[in-house]
């Protein structure tokens, strides 16, 4: 809890630091502050504590996810130092917004009341709407922001409608009570309750970009400033799944069969659309957006397995996925700068020739996303498949595998571009030491977490 409070305060501090002319202190202070939050979070490890009339429940699950997200945010902030260097206005605000968004994610990982879930989602979403529109005079950023906003609000409405219906039936927002309430129906849930649950699930599914509620994600990923995209692809996704799992874990498990089946359909569609959509993509950010959708499909598989270690797997998966995504975004930005702001995949052309080491790290991370050993992406997929197969979900697992094959294609398509000769290099790619360090740390992390796979029992 102290971590949460500290983070909020940190956000406000950073906001006020915006009055200082020295922008370069923002990143270190934000990152440093988050390190403190990290420590504070870890302090609670091992205890299960409820706060404020069971509004939130801080347990190992939430701490683990919080820590994971804090680490990722720190990495993003460090990258932001370079990214926001040329930007003059509102830098502090952007940092603050991200920190506020992070606090929203904390709520999403630790709620035990639907109100907190709702607020958490909103606290995360509203900064994101703004962040997505961060490039004020860029049409694309505008569009991204607005699309995200409209669809997000719509999803919120649906989500709320769901909460209302569930509330109407059960007269409570408190998840454990809802769980007992559902249990009394012995699987024969009345339609109203079912629809209510479905709407709640859809609200969360929107956040994790599960098909068919994924439409915002490619457009927003593409239009948003890259740093924000990175934030969305990593922290937001992690938070979404944490919330998803928590919702199901403390509220809905065992899943009502109808909801479970609906989720199967969603998983299926998500895997399909994510992978197929990425297949012929030429814009790298969109590619990563679709890839994020595809990974959502895998993560949903883990959620749906309802295994005791599903949470751990989710944590591992989201963490290593984030770890692999961030360096890719960094490299993408570097390449984009070297090619006049193009965002196509082909800006990676000649990367191997120009900067072999960067290329190799890019490849490691792409392989991780593709799920090729010994990277952690493979280990993550392995665990997910294990959960699914253990549950006896054979056909869907095979389907997931087929989709993973398609996934390999588009990631390796990028790798192929990396090795393709470029006609003539216009601008030299410049890599700051910090960025290089970030790339290396993340890539090593990707490899290390793969080779020495861990699982935190949460």
């Amino acid at each position: 809890m102290s971590a949460f409070i500290f983070t909020v305060v940190l956000g406000i501090i950073v906001l006020y630091l915006g009055f200082s002319k020295n922008k370069s202190i923002l990143s270190p202070i934000s990152a440093g502050g988050l390190v403190v939050s990290l420590v504070l979070s870890l302090k609670d490890w091992g205890h299960q504590s409820k706060y404020f009339h069971d509004m939130i429940l801080i347990d190992n699950f939430s701490i683990a996810f919080n820590v994971s997200m804090i680490i990722i945010t720190i990495l993003i902030f460090l990258f932001a130092l370079d990214y926001y260097e040329t930007m003059e206005n509102h830098v502090a605000e952007l940092y603050a917004l991200m920190i506020f968004g992070l606090t929203g994610t904390f709520l999403m990982t630790s709620f035990s009341n639907l109100i907190m879930l709702f607020l958490g989602i909103e606290i995360l979403s509203i900064p994101l709407y703004i962040l997505a529109g961060g490039k004020k005079y860029s049409y694309r950023s505008n569009e991204a922001s607005f699309k995200y906003f409209i669809m997000g609000s719509f999803a919120t409405a649906i989500f709320l409608f769901g909460i209302a219906l569930v509330y109407g039936a059960s007269a409570t927002f408190y998840l454990p009570e809802i769980k007992t309430f559902i249990a009394q129906f012995n699987g024969h849930l009345p339609p109203m309750l079912l629809v209510g649950l479905l709407f709640i699930v859809i609200g969360v599914a929107f956040k994790i970009a599960a098909a068919p509620f994924h439409f915002w994600s490619p457009d927003v990923y593409e239009g948003a400033p890259t740093l924000v995209t990175a934030f969305m692809a990593t922290v937001v996704k992690t938070a979404g799944f944490a919330a998803f799992y928590r919702l199901l874990g403390i509220g809905l498990l065992p899943l009502p069969v109808q909801i479970e089946k609906a989720l199967w359909v969603m998983t299926f569609l998500t895997l399909l659309i994510g992978n197929l959509g990425a297949l012929r993509q030429s814009n790298f950010k969109r590619l990563l957006a679709y890839s994020a959708i595809a990974h959502s499909g895998f993560l949903m598989l883990a959620v749906l397995s309802q295994h005791e270690s599903s949470a751990s797997v989710l944590l591992y998966y989201t963490f290593v996925y984030s770890l692999a995504t961030i360096p890719l975004f960094i490299i993408f930005i570097l390449a984009k700068r070297a090619s006049d702001g193009l965002e196509e995949i082909l800006i990676f052309r000649g990367l191997y020739k120009e900067k072999s080491w960067i290329a190799i790290f890019a490849i490691i991370n792409l392989m991780s996303l593709a799920g090729i050993p010994p990277t952690s992406g493979f280990m993550a997929k392995y665990q997910v498949l294990f959960l699914a197969i253990n549950k006896g979900i054979l056909l869907t697992s095979i389907f997931a595998i087929v989709m993973a094959i398609i996934g390999v294609y588009y990631y390796f398509f990028v790798i192929r571009e990396i090795f393709t000769e470029r006609g003539q290099t216009t601008t030299k790619m410049e890599v700051t030491k910090l960025n290089a360090a970030l790339i290396i740390i993340c890539s090593i992390g990707v490899l290390a977490t793969g080779i020495f796979m861990w699982q935190i029992p949460i």
């Binding site: 109100i115 709702f118 607020l119 909103e122 509203i126 709407y129 703004i130 529109g133 004020k136 005079y137 049409y139 694309r140 505008n142 569009e143 991204a144 922001s145 607005f146 699309k147 906003f149 409209i150 609000s153 719509f154 919120t156 409405a157 709320l160 409608f161 909460i163 209302a164 219906l165 509330y167 109407g168 007269a171 409570t172 927002f173 490619p218 457009d219 927003v220 593409e222 239009g223 969109r286």
Partner: protein, 109 residues
């Protein structure tokens, strides 16, 4: 006053639900029907409010103050969203001099 307080006991809950569903559907229809962004925003407000009413009705039915509080929060969030939404809209108007939603189609495929 006594009459009023007993409304919830007289009027069946179904009717509230029906009303709210109707309003929600109208909001949804508005979102799908219009190209004017501002009206879409309004439709969303309508949807949120229908939820509010529904929760309030349930709250009254259950005699549970939590529902009332929840409505309150929804209002908060709606207000914040409207603020953000309208500012985005203003910015959009500034950039493209229109609020036609169909103009937002640069990002695709």
């Amino acid at each position: 006053m006594k009459d009023i307080t007993s409304a919830i006991q007289i009027i069946p809950l179904e009717h509230y639900i029906l009303l709210c569903v109707t309003l929600f559907s109208i909001g949804l229809l508005g979102i799908l029907f219009r190209r004017n962004t501002i009206i879409i925003l309004m439709s969303i407000e309508l949807m949120l409010n229908s939820v509010n009413l529904l929760v309030a009705a349930f709250s009254a039915y259950h005699s549970d103050p939590a529902g009332q509080v929840f409505v309150f929060f929804i209002m908060i969030v709606a207000a914040a969203e409207v603020a953000v939404g309208l500012s985005i809209l203003v910015m959009m108007k500034r950039n493209v001099d229109s609020v036609d939603i169909n103009l937002l189609n640069r990002l695709k495929w």
